[in-house]
């Protein structure tokens, strides 16, 4: 699986969009990991858009369920597996993987 582009720019941009610019947390205690910050409505909406953006950049994905197995092993839920299996494209299946509880809370 190859990830395009090779330049870090787009990735850094997505980190900025998500409010976590590289090496620049708002305070010395780092990025907040409390639920109200990490799982705020705005953050979730942005994460959805970012997941879709990232998924579109992957080429030669192979079968998305293979990616799921590689990342989560046996921890993947049946619901996540089914949702990915029924996706209308490989890219949508990958975006569902990125947004899945297993991936988000890992």
């Amino acid at each position: 699986m190859s990830f395009l582009p090779n330049e870090p720019g787009p990735l850094l941009h997505l980190q900025n969009v998500l409010g976590m610019p590289l090496w620049q947390p708002a305070g010395p205690n780092g990025f907040a990991d409390t639920a109200d910050v990490w799982a705020s409505p705005e953050a979730m909406k942005l994460r959805l858009d970012v997941s879709w953006q990232m998924a579109q950049r992957f080429r030669e994905v192979g079968h998305p369920l293979g990616v799921l197995d590689t990342i989560t092993g046996l921890a993947a839920s049946r619901e996540t597996r089914d949702a990915m299996d029924h996706a209308e494209s490989r890219q949508q299946a990958l975006a569902l993987l990125f947004m899945s509880p297993e991936f988000q809370r890992r």
Binding site: L4, P5, N6, E7, G9, P10, L14, V17, A35, A39, S40, P41, E42, A43, M44, K45, L46, L48, D49, V50, S51, W52, Q53, Q56, R57, F58, R59, E60, H63, P64, S77, E79, T80, A83, H86, A87, E88, S89, R90, Q92, A93, A95, L96, M99, S100, P101, Q104, R105
Partner: protein
């Protein structure tokens, strides 16, 4: 070789510069009168419902099979009459006008050689041009570009629109990449699927995401959305489809720009609430129709030498399912639009929708091989030799003889 990276914005700006620059060149700089064909392939991902997009209202079995989704000749669910048998979906306004002007045609009951029901594999077969799934190293459109003569002294190249170029245009020939800038919305289809997953597995994340989406909707309705920084919508939204088509048209119109382009539109997997004159499918088809309009407008004088073809990986079931949608099927419809189309026709060896005529008792029977139509198009429109089509572009497709007469002139 795919030149796809963060330079895409510069490529577009470069293309615009070329367009403007060309206005100052003396007319003799372009080969006057020579035919200079353009070809655009739109991949409709998710399996577009051909029986809803171009409805066979003249088939005696149609109305009952389609129930609440059935289009009609008159009334609330009326489509645009194409002939005495087919109507086009009411969202296809531009396409229907082009059809009347004989600049658009439909190929119906058409399918690739793929007979299973996986989107992933079906799209691979559709885009790779190989007889079966598993080959994703290059697409048939790219291998066709390899066969094209140089443009103004430089090797012919393709254009791939989107964050990643669709497989159909990837391969050995050089490909320009372009995508609308900014971070477009993920699209309603993905959002619904994620919300559904959260409903089962993670209500906390579900509540947060639902609230975030609601805020976004309110902001947009209130006119607060920041169009300056955002692309105008995902590739499953009419605004996004239009924007992508307008950008591609601009690049294709440039004198030294690409002559061949591929775009992919999403959201055609209408298992639930497909809708008839309005609904999920109508939204996507109106985006497709908007793309036709943008290409006509943006290509200007080149429109007369252009063909835009829209294809999908397979069709949908003839019958409506229990959730007012349709499931994965077999044969579908394909669209041709542009000044170079020998149009005004629905081209089909119509198999009929009677129960004993359905493929596996459930789908529109495929009577035309999509590769046969594509081979005819590439031969007559782009002048690609038959031997190259048979050996390089569509290997192992001998049974699919090129369809003749799709191109005007």
């Amino acid at each position: 070789m795919t030149q796809h990276s963060a330079i895409s914005r510069r490529v577009l700006l470069g293309g615009v510069g070329v367009t403007f620059g060309a206005a100052f060149l003396p007319p003799a700089a372009s080969a006057a009168g020579a035919r200079d064909p353009r070809l655009v392939v739109l991949v409709l991902r998710g399996a577009m419902d051909g029986l809803a997009a171009v409805a066979p209202v003249g088939d005696p079995a149609y109305a009952e099979l389609r129930g609440p989704l059935a289009l009609t000749r008159t009334g609330e669910r009326a489509g645009f009459a194409l002939d005495d048998f087919f109507v086009a979906h009411p969202a296809l306004q531009t396409f229907s006008r082009l059809f009347k002007e004989k600049r658009a045609a439909v190929l119906h009951a058409i399918a690739t050689g793929y007979r299973e029901r996986s989107h992933f594999d079906g799209q691979d077969v559709l885009e790779s041009g190989y007889p079966g799934p598993g080959r994703v190293d290059s697409g048939w459109l790219n291998r066709a570009v390899v066969q094209l003569p140089p443009v103004l002294g430089a090797p012919a190249r393709g254009l791939g629109v989107g964050a990643t170029a669709p497989l159909v245009i990837r391969g050995p020939a050089p490909v320009l990449g372009w995508a609308p800038q900014g971070l477009p919305d993920a699209g309603a289809g993905l959002a619904e699927r994620v919300l559904d997953l959260y409903a089962h597995r993670d209500p906390t994340l579900g509540a947060a995401l639902r609230s975030g989406l609601e805020t976004e909707r309110l902001a947009r309705e209130g006119g607060m959305s920041n169009d300056m920084t955002k692309a105008k919508g995902g590739m499953d939204q009419p605004s996004g489809m239009r924007q992508a088509a307008a950008g591609a048209a601009r690049l294709l119109a440039a004198p030294d720009g690409p002559r061949v382009a591929a775009l992919a539109f999403d959201g055609f997997d209408t298992h639930a609430n497909e809708g008839a004159a309005q609904g999920q499918l109508a939204t996507r088809l109106s985006g497709l129709d908007g793309a036709f309009e943008e290409f006509e407008r943006g290509l200007g004088e080149h429109w007369k030498d252009t063909i835009v073809m829209a294809v999908t990986e397979f069709g949908r079931t003839a019958r409506v399912n229990g959730t007012n949608g349709t499931d994965h099927g077999t044969a579908a419809a394909a669209f041709l639009a542009g000044g170079a189309v020998a149009g005004g026709r629905v081209i089909a060896d119509w198999p009929g929708l009677a129960q004993n005529r359905l493929y596996q008792g459930r789908d529109l029977f495929p009577t035309t091989d999509l590769r046969a139509a594509l081979k005819g198009l590439l031969a007559d429109h782009l002048g690609i030799a038959h031997v190259a089509l048979a050996e390089k572009v569509f290997p192992d497709s001998d049974a699919a003889a090129p369809v003749k007469g799709l191109v005007a002139g």
